[in-house]
Symmetry: C2
Subunit: 571 residues, 2 copies
């Protein structure tokens, strides 16, 4: 026998969870007791629930597995909801455990605090159920199987799950028997005949494409679904055996090393891609798109210009070849079989040229830190295996154009686009990294975004992690000044100015021994810092306030295209 709390914590431990995030509150304290006693998972209390949800999201992204966030009924769970919705939108597996009133209180409809005064217990859970369809209310009966089913669905669908844990159940004993059978992601089994048909069809399309006179380019285009549905290794194996040229979408950036010699850069639709990439992808005879993740940012505002007859799309549970959909043929099992068939084309495919993608720092003699200068410059600062977080706003637009080093991971909320995410997510990312080999965490965040969730800097200090945080201080919401016709003349994008470089001391590093803070007003000041060896070693939590003009922006934001035609909805 084992308590329900221990059962749940043991399952999380089995799934590799070593840190969990949240805010303690009366209704989840019995569960918090168990976390502290069991000592398997470190409790990371957040300053507020939204930040904790972001932290769980960042943790899950770095580990490419489950993140966990704990809140309470009403006040806590609603505060976290935007963070949960972000994980739904971005397909991040996250367990949201909510301490709710006891089963007795719910039965008697006690008017506890944190209710709307109407003795309804369901409105908050019902709100969450609008956001995620994966949820359960724990009961003593079937607690183990409810937990197991929820977790399997969460990791298999790569989406947040909502677990209502009545406060009296944490200490209730249940059988531990099923714990001997570990949980794992469910992979849909392909129908052999359908799969064989798809393999043959794709192989013959490649054979035809590669034998055409004139251009015989074929390309692989990697999107975020490759991470979310756990086929990164399969994709790398396919690329290895075929020698195909490979490109990434903005959301797929960093999945394939940007230093790989067959990697050509980012395809960002027909308006924003570089001339070479646009030509290579849009004029290819065949594009194998892996794990499509449609969204306006990712597609350059829906400006894909790839003919349907040249497009093959691989999804976790189906395949689309030109106009034909093959349900039940998922990419996890398909990819190795495709590789086995397509490797015969290695000779031809490996000769297809790819553009060079590099960071070129403009030498125009100006001292002003402009986006055009900043991003290739920090591109030179990155090291292999860095984890890079780019906040929604100018940083997100700009980072797409930076060539990242091998082994690095780019994290960014490119579909949900909730400003404030980066600082919270950095906490989770740093703690996930702490579980493995040392890697630097480098965060880029605008002033408006930092103001949303600034308090979580204190958790970074408190946990002893050492990210380097670049704060782009341009006096307000620059994307609003640029994306909205009247934005440039308006006052509402203006923000209060803060002494950003003074934050870390006030938020916990009183004597300045744990952190370093800098202000960079000129290219030279920033360059000197980036070249400083100690700075680059990231031995301290570091904040660099970079002063930029409020109307300056990356080229992609300046040239953000009008919306094109949306692709069809995925199945």
């Amino acid at each position: 026998m084992i308590t329900i709390a221990e059962y749940l914590l043991t399952r999380l431990d089995q799934l590799g969870v070593k840190h969990m995030f949240g805010v303690p509150g009366e209704l989840n304290l019995p569960f918090c007791d168990k976390i502290e006693d069991l000592k398997k998972i470190a409790w990371i209390g957040g300053c507020n629930e939204l930040n904790s949800a972001y932290a769980a999201d960042g943790y899950a992204r770095v580990k490419r597995s489950l993140g966990v966030c704990l809140t309470i009924f009403g006040v806590g769970e609603l505060s976290a909801l935007n963070g949960i919705a972000g994980a739904v939108s971005e397909e991040v597996p996250m367990l949201h455990i909510v301490g709710v009133p006891s089963t007795a209180q719910q039965k008697e409809k006690t008017l506890v605090d944190h209710t709307l005064g109407d003795a309804r217990f369901d409105p908050f859970m019902a709100a969450s159920q609008q956001i995620t369809s994966i949820w359960t209310i724990l009961t003593k009966k079937d607690a183990a199987s409810k937990i197991d089913r929820l977790l399997i669905e969460c990791i298999s669908k790569s989406r947040p799950a909502y677990l209502a844990l009545p406060t009296d159940l944490a200490g209730v004993n249940i059988s531990s028997e099923s714990l001997q059978y570990p949980l794992s992601r469910h992979v849909s089994q392909n129908d052999p005949a359908a799969e064989q048909f798809v393999v043959n069809r794709i192989t013959s399309l490649f054979a035809k494409a590669l034998s055409q006179t004139g251009s015989s380019d074929v390309v692989v285009l990697v999107d975020l679904g490759a991470i979310r549905y756990d086929v990164v290794q399969e994709v790398k194996d396919l690329l290895q055996v075929t020698g195909f040229p490979v490109y990434a979408t903005p959301c797929g950036k960093s999945i394939i090393s940007e230093t790989y010699d067959r990697y050509g850069g980012i395809y960002w639709g027909s308006e924003l891609s570089s001339h070479e990439v646009k030509q290579k992808v849009e004029e290819a005879n065949l594009v194998l798109l892996i794990g499509p993740f449609p969204g306006d940012f990712n597609t350059g505002n829906y400006n894909y210009d790839i003919p349907t007859e040249c497009m093959i799309e691989l999804y976790p549970d189906h395949t689309k070849i030109q106009d034909a959909v093959f349900p039940g043929v998922g990419m996890k099992q398909l990819l190795p079989k495709l590789g086995a068939q397509l490797q015969r084309f290695h000779g031809t495919a490996s000769q297809i040229p790819v553009p060079k993608f590099d960071n070129v720092v403009p030498q125009d003699g100006s001292s002003v830190i402009t986006h055009d200068w900043l991003w290739p410059r920090v591109g030179q600062f990155f090291k292999p295996n860095d984890v890079i977080l780019a906040e929604t706003g100018t940083a997100q637009f700009a980072i797409v154009d930076v060539r990242l080093p091998s082994g690095s991971d780019l994290l960014s909320q490119m579909r949900w686009a909730s400003i404030g995410w980066a600082v919270g997510a950095a906490l989770g990312a740093c703690l996930a990294i702490k579980e493995g080999a040392p890697r630097r965490t480098v965060v880029f965040v605008g002033d408006g975004s930092l103001q949303m969730t600034v308090q979580e800097l204190s958790s970074l200090i408190r946990t002893g992690v050492k990210p380097i945080i670049f704060v782009l201080n341009n006096g307000g919401y620059t994307t609003e000044r640029l994306l909205h016709a009247e934005g440039a003349q308006r006052k509402y994008p203006d923000l209060a100015n803060w002494d950003y470089a003074g934050l870390l001391k006030v938020l916990g590093d009183f004597d300045g021994t744990a952190s370093r803070s800098y202000k960079a007003r000129t290219r030279k000041e920033l360059s000197d810092l980036l070249d400083n060896q100690e700075f680059g070693e990231a031995k301290f939590i570091t904040l660099v306030e970079i002063f930029m003009d409020k109307m300056d922006s990356p080229r992609s934001l300046k040239n953000w295209p009008k919306p094109g035609n949306q692709p069809e909805r995925p199945l």
Copy 2:
């Protein structure tokens, strides 16, 4: 003709709204343009949406009328949801305007950003609809009447309303004709015969109660519904003409001046009320309870000990006399008629003694700032007409025992109890005050609560308002250490320590000319500060960090009773 945005803003202006709160975002920018151009309502951009919702809540509470919060679709509205739910729970009228995708985008199910990737446009609105039943989606057709109906329901029911404003509609022209008819709160009209019966019945009960031998006490007990349903003046008139002794619930505190000579103090159930108040209320022959607001905090954990046969309860839409309910007899129209009948008892009633309620500072020679010492001491610091915000936590428990000066208003979230509310609400409260005669704003907030929403201190600085903020630094969530059996030995209530007194400089007052910050470690340090005339004049935004022991707490929290029997649900 007038644009829909101007129509809405004109209606808000007619309802007395002079400041509105929120965060600008792509989908509400056309509406933000109109706010800036129309110049009738000041736009107060918040650091994040939850804080802005709290600000709108604080604004509405001080003005006892409508507060307004503006967010965008998805990311913004979900972030605000806990603040909106708080206003539902606490019955605060608030309009939540949400900039949503254009009618064309919704029709075509465009996969814009801030969606869950499934082209559904309704999940966020559906989440809000779980929280409030007052909502509309604006359309060009019937825009004016939709706005009007929504606002009338919002102010009449004293609850938040959700208004989805498609981004393309802000600039669409509609007829302005109906603007000549101002909107007002709907007061249910009492049925004359039923009302007459109720008046007679209550009058005869008072006649009987006041003529009994032995104790002939009758008391009026004022609760929060008196403010929320706009009968404060009617209650005062009744007290004036009858001379009845009056008490308040914790939520009803400050509605009747605590210096009024017929006021006896706070009835907080049978376990927490002072001995004298308990006796006076529980042994009265008749208790006239006005605007009941049931909740665990307000009732001392449901420990009312007032016999049903002694209880008369007045609600906005019905009356309850002993066991009998009279639907359709609401207190707004009933109270003046009751007064006219009950004034005949003035001679007897005005002789009923009331306990003395005062602030007595213990003189035990200790230098440590304890709760027992702190609260009567700040009670002496308060001035008439102060607006006092007490955050959920020790401050909320303690403030109930402090006698407040005449004309002061106590604001506290005693049912929803979401920590973090106070700093956001202070912004709204201060700006509401700025619209009228000068009053001080005094805020009490725990360290854990301040950490939730700290960034909004910068908005206080930016808008030039001058609250005095006392931060109770006791190293964590003290209520958790006390209310939970194992809390005292646990680590999870611990917080990162901040240099709270250093916050205002970093968050905007770089040269220290706009603010004052202090640390008080001893009674003498704090007393000297409170006695300092300049400090008391509140010419600067002021933050005082008070150091307290992590296990010290107010007597009501130490003695928080086990739950008693809940009263029946209101109709």
